[in-house]
Symmetry: C2
Subunit: 365 residues, 2 copies
Amino acid sequence: MVQDQDNIIGAKQAKTKFSAKNPFFCCVISHTATSEVPGLTVAGANPDLVKYTSPADAEFLHYGYCRCIPGVPATPDGKPTPAVITKAALELAEIPFLVVDAGTKVKPDIPCVSLGVKPGGNIAQENAMDVSDTKRALEYGHALGRQLARSSDLVVIGESIPGGTTTALAVLSALGVDAQFKVSSSMPENPHELKNKVVQSAFARARISTADGTPALEAVSLVGDPMMPTVAGITAGALEAGGAKVMLAGGTQMAAVLAVMKGLSIPLANLCMGTTVYVAKDSSADLAGLIKQVSPEVPVLACDLQLEKSSKPGLQAFARGFVKEGVGAGGSSIAAMLKTNASGKKMLAAIERVYERSIEKKSLT
Amino acid sequence: MVQDQDNIIGAKQAKTKFSAKNPFFCCVISHTATSEVPGLTVAGANPDLVKYTSPADAEFLHYGYCRCIPGVPATPDGKPTPAVITKAALELAEIPFLVVDAGTKVKPDIPCVSLGVKPGGNIAQENAMDVSDTKRALEYGHALGRQLARSSDLVVIGESIPGGTTTALAVLSALGVDAQFKVSSSMPENPHELKNKVVQSAFARARISTADGTPALEAVSLVGDPMMPTVAGITAGALEAGGAKVMLAGGTQMAAVLAVMKGLSIPLANLCMGTTVYVAKDSSADLAGLIKQVSPEVPVLACDLQLEKSSKPGLQAFARGFVKEGVGAGGSSIAAMLKTNASGKKMLAAIERVYERSIEKKSLT
């Protein structure tokens, strides 16, 4: 069966340590005004649409279509949201899920857990979060994580926050991690210089020096985003409840969450990361290098969704460095394959079915 | 084992049909301004505190203490909230739970699913809900119920809405059920005449005649409360997802939800009611008579928590007709006993521990 799943890097390890008989998927959606810096993200067909991306992703998971926008979230040149992959994984394996609204700018038209925190500020100009919001996100996340762990053996936590790799770079750097040129991007041409510039402005504004150690919650409040303390809190609560393990489903943004948790002395045993090979093997970033610095003991599982073999141009693009990951696409796919023993081929077929039902149907109308 | 559980009326039936290997508890909290009619409810130490009761109950479930009020919700003469029982049941059996905010007036300080509906109006004077809110509660509930059913074999749904038996009387009557003098009360002296008067005013205002059939959603919007379509939606979604069964945890308020679901042609197989004997045997009400009229095929399980044997005066009071039920106390206790095979004695001990930790500690400070 592991043979069938050679498309998961680290599948044997996953099978041994991270069972997923009844995984639960939790998707944290959020906004940071940092995403409004021109050129930083393509998670939206145009800059005005970026704030709709995370709520639209959440709506897509629930209904198979979006309500706050026509069609689905896409890049300006039409590459679709990775929520297509997540939706397919959740459906294939009948994985229950819950959306957590941690500071969206546009509210999704779905039932979701609201943490009552404000959207994140543009870190180049203002603090990311009020300290009270950071603490509430952490505390509420913790209370929620405890409950999710009681109904699941593997809590998989994904995110949708456009611009999140820039705040990830900022928080990683503030916590002393050498992260420049290492965070990933939704674009094939990773705008590292622009990200570095934004972080530089943020550090000057917030008087952060990479030489000094910044306390984790302070780093998040000054230059992070609301997704980070929320995911850290859910993870901490789930691990504390005992029994369940946790998978952080995402790319380099989750490395920042890992660094925050380490800073908060949250034990990282029983935790893994799950992502796509498109992030894991991204030559314009260095996920492995980040994890090695932050917490080398946390295993990184990566699934090869074989999207280059797809007949759908929008899916092929993922394999060519567009979008790559997001909405927990990689982690939820790994959980689905672990739960059902589905082959990579079956998984790809499921993704294509969702693509046909949503993207292709939409472009016809 | 069934012998150990003779304190559940219908335990054999429950064991056969309603397994609870991994139950999930969902608590719907809500407000109806109908509760502000003087003399209708004692779910609050004084009338000004009634709006805090349901959020405080939810906070108690999460933290073991309340945040929006000092102490715990209580009647004017100090009888504590049934959330003490629910908390004990959830802890004893490690049952995961989620709170759904369906129109509270005071927001609880916890992570909860918010449905974005307004508190219910005072039905004597105004419509209970906008039709759009009723539909959203039903739709969001449905989407949520689908997910809960995927992670559980028994979704137990409780409620906390002061004044809810009066809106229950109104909706039952509007749907053609003979409910006068049959709904329960948090007081030993059930204020039937006052309830009848409020419903009479509501019917005159909304031009409802018991002779005509009122469509279910219209009845809820005119003279119901936001808890009803929410619970109906969660139930419908959970049952539709397949696999899971549903227990409506509560007294005569849940009979109204049952009537609404019947009116919406939601199939009621795989559904049961779970309550306390204090409601089931309440001589001032007639739960069995209501169920018999609405849907005799739905089994009613009732647990005898043997609170008359407790050394705690606040718990003894439940057995003497005060409070009786609420916050899914009866249903969550049944689920806990089914899951753990705990005896009634063990259950009582667990309840007393929570009572000591919260009520007695609080009264010392």
